[in-house]
Symmetry: C2
């Protein structure tokens, strides 16, 4: 039976990417596996170069932005951004839109003054704070562009001239962005980019070199830039799979086309949630709903286990909501087919007929 | 033509590991790829548990040692060890046996007093310093157990009651060790453990919690221990491949058996280097020669390119020495078959006949 993978991350990737990655594990370069080639080989240098070219093209990056492949996930970027961008006597602004924002705020506090300029915490993170005043002397404004757990997403950036630092782990390359608004973007790969094990950082290099503290080499963006992400051995296979996924994204029309597909998928699923008397959405402001992670609940919570069983029977996996929110979460990243979303909608409709 | 992979890292793994890993990329758990399953799924929890059980069994770990799967490579451990183990007013001792030791020393200096108690730097790192006095109040003694670039290896530990912190990136699980001598062991996976993208840390937890500085969550061993390496999303696929490789190691007799095979492979290759009038070893003290990375040169250096060509013709890849040493380096890790070493020896003998 075909599986429809609604997991929040690690998450679905296109079937063609799995096929090519599987083949490369057996034979990538003249009889050698992708897992045993040198990170300084001609073959892997080509992988790095093509990956960077694809990122540059898809995000339309001006030349003063650098592209890095690091490790440690977004959780490492929570402190690495502050360590590199926030001097001890400077201030940075943060918008608190969920668990990941809260962690970024906590980790940054060890490095400089952190001001939380907006938060929806008191309301269960059920919307994106608006009309926020951001002091113009802030080193940066940090946002979590999409909130995997609560299912909200920034659809408009806050008005500010301050460079934005964004955790885009769960919506990077899912829609066009105005890169010039951002000083730095980071993303753990395992939601919309590739498998777990690599972290993408895109940084305007004019942001760097302005803090006075000593930074360990592996935590200094400038060192990774100077060595083009091979200061140490990078995660070869995760980067390779990311390249395959970026190729797929480009071949399928790039960001405008995937944005259109993502909006269509989200629209039909949210329509069902709103129309079906058995279900309701988690996010209170419809305008802030995520196009990536669709969160919803049953009106009668005692039916939760039965609904999850119905999902499993139809091949829909990963629909259970995060333990801190409960209910359901359907993650419908770039690689998710509209037909899979329709299968889930079918389950909801059938469940409603039988139990409504 | 069969390739014989003498690369220093990322490096050779057993063919059965490549086959199983390739299959898991297509279908690991009931129709899902290993690249798209949740790190909190039952299936991946089993992978983590089995990997840890294998590490514990192979290294014969007492219960107070913890096993962690981190990222960032040994290069991250260079500072993370000092950050977690060395208080600002305490001192740690380091033995400088090559480029990696030197980097560990440099990074540690930002955190406390670092004393280099032994070094072979002035002699081109061509031996392992002996008869070293280590002050008993040192927080730890740091060594690089095997030096990938220069081809030396500790075959006896320095005499000291101080806990040893060892970078074992290139010889971990290649021979039995007395774990009780070590406070902490770390290893980038990509030489003897698995593919690039995961870092193994084995730590005696009594070493932890003794420094007063603030440590970012992702750099604090105690946090990773409390969450059993799932504080954030771990590198799922590299860990899975490591598990496959550990299974292979156990099925093939464990550390005693692999040590015997490694010694046999090294012995026949060093014998050829010593016997063949065209070649000479790089390491000046034969007792310090590495069983993992066999470094050698031509007596007539002008023949270097020709010898590499002869290697390539026979399917031997990765034989070129590190750029800082020159000459040749044959890395013969656990997964390297004796028959592949014999192919390389054949090339040396044939080359000697023709050019000697």
């Amino acid at each position: 039976m075909k599986k429809h993978n609604f997991n929040a991350g690690p998450a679905i990737l296109p079937p063609s990417v799995f096929r090519e990655a599987s083949a490369a594990v057996l034979d990538f370069a003249g009889g050698l596996s992708i897992l045993e080639i040198s990170h300084r080989s001609t073959e892997f240098t080509k992988v790095l170069d093509e990956t960077t070219a694809l990122i540059r093209e898809l995000l339309n990056l001006p030349e003063y932005y650098e592209v890095l492949y690091l490790s440690g996930g977004a959780s490492t970027q929570f402190f690495m951004t502050a360590m590199n961008l926030l001097d001890a006597d400077a201030r940075a602004c943060y918008i608190d839109t969920g668990s990941w924002s809260a962690k970024a705020i906590k980790e940054a506090k060890a490095f400089g003054r952190v001001e939380v300029v907006g938060s929806s915490k008191e309301d269960g993170y059920s919307y994106i704070p608006k009309d926020i005043q951001i002091p113009t002397d802030a080193a940066y404004l940090h946002i979590t562009s999409n909130n995997t757990i609560f299912g909200t997403q920034f659809h408009q950036l806050p008005e500010t001239s301050v460079p934005i630092v964004a955790d885009m782990s769960s919506d990077i390359l899912s829609r066009p962005i105005d890169i010039n608004r951002y000083g730095l973007i980071y993303a753990g790969a395992q939601k919309n980019l590739g498998p777990a094990g690599v972290t993408l950082v895109v940084v305007n290099k004019e942001m760097l070199g302005k803090v006075s503290r000593t930074i360990p080499s592996m935590l200094d963006y400038r060192i990774h830039i100077s060595k083009q992400s091979t200061y140490n051995t990078p995660p070869v296979f995760p980067i390779y799979v990311m390249m395959l996924n970026l190729r797929w994204l480009k071949e399928n029309g790039g960001l405008k086309a995937v944005d259109k597909r993502n909006k269509e998928k989200a629209a039909i699923l949210y329509s069902e949630i709103d129309a079906n008397p058995l279900f309701k959405g988690v996010v209170t402001e419809a305008a802030d709903r995520s196009l990536m992670n669709v969160t919803f609940r049953l009106e009668r919570e005692e039916l939760t286990a039965d609904f999850l069983k119905a999902c499993a029977t139809a091949g829909c996996v990963g629909v259970k909501g995060h333990r801190s929110v409960g209910g359901f979460r359907a993650s419908i990243y770039n690689a998710m087919e509209k037909s899979s979303v329709e299968v889930l909608i079918g389950v909801m409709q059938e469940f409603s007929k039988q139990r409504g």
